[in-house]
Amino acid sequence: MSEATIQGFRERILARQPLRIRGGGSKDFYGNTMSGDVLDTRAHTGIVNYEPSELVITAKAGTLLLDLKSALAERRQWLPFEPPEFAAGSTVGGMVAAGLSGPGRLAHGALRDYILGVTLMDGEGRVLKFGGEVMKNVAGFDVSRLMAGSLGSLGLLLEVSIKVLPVPVAEATVRIPMNERDALTAINRWAGQPLPITATAWLSDTLFVRLAGADAAVKAALPQVGAGGTAISAENAPWIALRDHAHAFFKGDAPLWRLALPTTSPALTLGTPLIEWGGGQRWLRGEHDANHLRALARSHGGHATRFRGGDPAIAAFAPLDPVTLRLHQELKRRFDPQGLFNPGRLF
């Protein structure tokens, strides 16, 4: 029963020992080394409210992402930011806390853009509700969106309300042979035109482009975007494998680095990248000097994350400037005065 589950969470918090909040554990690798006892959210499960014509779904944090997605699919709706499922068992709470988005980020925005409301338990065991289930809501500070990507550092998510959208009527993917520099130029140019491009990926001198939307729009754009390319079937399209890091690029134990850069940043002469989000997200494998990589990302206006593997002594995330860090610490102190939640994982 839900009330008992919540009381159980509260008791764990009031025991005042560091806690490592965990859903399905599919992103255990992400962030800095974790300490504390596991607080498992998976007993707190279920879709609380879903009304397709309101374009919103509310679910408890322990709900399987898979279940949420099938409920949406039944009504031909989806999470357009295409959150990754790195392993079976990903939960809704973990998805929000990690704040990661998949290929659809390019056209549809990031996970944080879809968060409408949250219910959370703070570090004193209080249940707090922010935002709601409506699209437009500017009452009070936007604490809901602040939870996206907070890696559990501010509170234990209990419920989240997420905006959803209709699945595009039509979709097509093309594969175009192109070098890195030309690909970056092409995708930035296309992005400035009203074309229904919803995902891009470049690797090994091949650019993949996904078009989606109204049937007529996809058909009209295909010749313009796909010139010199080959159409590939939905089953052979790389998007799901890219989203879940099941693609060959992600195989093996070599460290995985993620660079978030302005899309127009030039090709970096660093190994063989996988480039997504129109140039905004670039993945690298192998040992890289963290300081060098971070300085390079910063020089282009971005940042670098040690996403998976590598030396745990190296901070997972780019360091924050002193003022931003102070604000992080002050906020943490307000929501979690004892510093119980996921200490050190994000900052």
């Binding site: 925005g109 853009d113 936007d142 940042h303 003022v323």
Partner: protein
């Protein structure tokens, strides 16, 4: 003689801070040296234009208005005010509708209106870097030649500034498809109350750490002062077409809205006006609205010509199926603009048919549109005031315009009670007291109904993390617990009394 050192009190969730005993004389003298000549206004006549924002029902004179021209001046002014313990209200174009820029009587107004340079336009990266005083529409105009525009379009877009848009998380008629300010701003540069400069967000898709950009947008001037905004630019759709559907029943119109969404269509705009609203605008605008209709819907599709044709055909079918008595499709750009002209003239029309009007801004789930409209009709009788209704129906955001006459004693108060009842019902229906105008000064009491004391405490916690002494826009956006208890407006979910710890008078 030395001034005794005062220990400034800290911002608290419990009680409002009072600043009337804080001396400002020395501060004003200092500010005069920090700003270019003529940029510190202290004379009553000079202060008058700043006594209110777009919500003229509330007026106050500040002690001074500081007109900053550079970020360095913003830093200097904030540092001086911080040192002196004097409140600061930041102000953009002053078009806000919730009294967010209402001056503090013991404080300074910091105007950003002179900071109106477009710093940089990068068409390839689809972004523009602008100063906070740049007008919303000026951005779109400046980038039009690249086939780009800035998507959020609040109705005041000719005049409102991007800094104000950031403070309020402004929306507009196209936000169902294109999002709010929070979805279209990439990065802000902010000066904190102690003069520290910080950037939230990034020109990259994200920034490390907590999403302070999302927290900052819509924070109503309580957390910091924006000195630079990077906005995302969107490719201009090649074409757009608008459907004008008439209904003999408002409930049917409400159901049609849900039916369009349920059919998997996200219109670029989806607006509703009731009969009172069409009757108010038609004589002035001649938009061609069916005056016999109980409600009209405006549904717009934009995109490639092929996409628009496909969407329009689908929407036409859905609207007809939902019982529309008439559906017209714009056949030219001129006709499309004519359809919209009526909707865009709704506020001015209210001003023409009534000495004053009071605009509400609740959001409710779309399915509750009918319930809300019937309830408003009942309230019109209860309060003896007329209300005309224009809705951003696509996202459930309501703008009932209550017509009143401020010169009739007591009528403003009756109007406020009418408005508060609409907001209370918005919360009860699962919505919110403000969709896009902000809480400001106007709706601060209604916040007590939407949030329990623990959430209000959390908001005050956020506030104090950024502004420990509560000097930025005090008394706005988030009520103190004392105020909520005093106003007797209590969050009454599940019928429980929420402030048992507070004494009541």
């Amino acid at each position: 003689m030395t001034t005794p050192t005062r220990k400034p009190s800290l911002h608290s969730a419990e009680h409002d801070r009072y600043f009337s005993t804080v001396p400002v004389g020395a501060l004003l003298a200092e500010l005069a040296t920090l700003l270019p000549a003529g940029n510190l206004l202290t004379g009553k006549e000079d202060l008058k234009p700043y006594e209110c924002d777009g919500l003229s029902a509330y007026q106050r004179l500040p002690r001074a208005v500081a007109l900053a021209e550079t970020e360095a001046q913003v830093i200097a002014v904030l540092k001086a005010c911080h040192q002196a313990g004097v409140p600061v209200v930041a102000r953009g174009a002053g078009t806000g509708l919730s009294g967010g820029a209402l001056p503090h009587e013991d404080g300074i107004v910091l105007s950003l209106a002179k900071m109106k340079q477009i710093v940089r336009i990068d068409p390839l990266a689809r972004l523009a870097v602008v100063q906070p005083g740049v007008r919303n529409l000026a951005i779109s105009e400046a980038v039009a030649s690249f086939g780009l525009y800035y998507a959020p379009d609040p109705s005041s877009q000719i005049a409102c500034s991007i800094g104000g848009n950031v403070a309020e998380n402004s929306g507009g008629v196209h936000c169902l498809k294109y999002g709010l300010t929070v979805h279209n701003v990439l990065r802000v540069r902010v000066v904190l109350i102690d003069g520290e400069v910080v950037e939230f967000g990034s020109h990259a898709p994200d920034a490390p750490g907590l999403d302070l950009l999302a927290l900052f947008i819509g924070s109503e001037g309580l957390l910091g002062v924006v000195t630079e905004v990077s906005v995302k630019l969107t490719p201009k759709p090649q074409s757009a077409q608008c459907l004008l559907a008439s209904f003999d029943d408002v409930l049917k119109a409400g159901e049609a809205v849900a039916a369009v969404i349920a059919a998997g269509i996200i219109p670029a705009g989806l607006e509703m006006m009731d009969q009172a609203a069409t009757a108010a605008v038609e004589p002035f605008v001649k938009a061609g609205y069916n005056l016999d209709a109980a409600a009209i819907l405006l549904c717009e599709s934009d995109g490639t010509p092929e996409e628009v044709a496909e969407d329009v055909a689908r929407m036409q079918a859905v609207l007809a199926h939902s019982g529309a008595i008439e559906v017209r499709v714009s056949t030219s750009e001129a006709e499309r603009l004519k359809f919209w002209a009526g909707r865009k003239a709704a506020f001015p029309a209210a001003g023409r048919i009534s000495p004053d009007y009071y605009c509400m801004d609740g959001t409710i789930p779309r399915k509750a549109l009918g319930t809300m409209l019937s309830a408003i009709a009942t309230m019109e009788k209860k309060y003896g005031l007329r209300c005309i209704n224009v809705f951003h129906a696509g996202d459930g955001n309501l703008h009932p315009l209550i017509l009143y006459d401020a010169n009739i004693p007591g009528q403003l108060q009756t109007t406020e009670e009418f408005g508060a009842e609409i907001l209370r019902l918005s919360v009860q229906l699962g919505g919110t007291i403000t969709g896009e105008h902000g809480v400001g000064f106007e709706k601060i009491n209604s916040m007590c109904e939407q949030f329990a004391s623990d959430e209000l405490r959390a908001f005050h916690g956020v506030k104090s993390a950024f502004d420990p002494h509560g000097l930025l826009n005090p008394g706005k956006a988030v009520p103190t617990l004392h105020r909520c208890a005093e106003m007797g407006r209590m969050h009454v979910h599940a019928g429980q009394l929420r402030f048992p710890e507070l004494e009541r008078l």
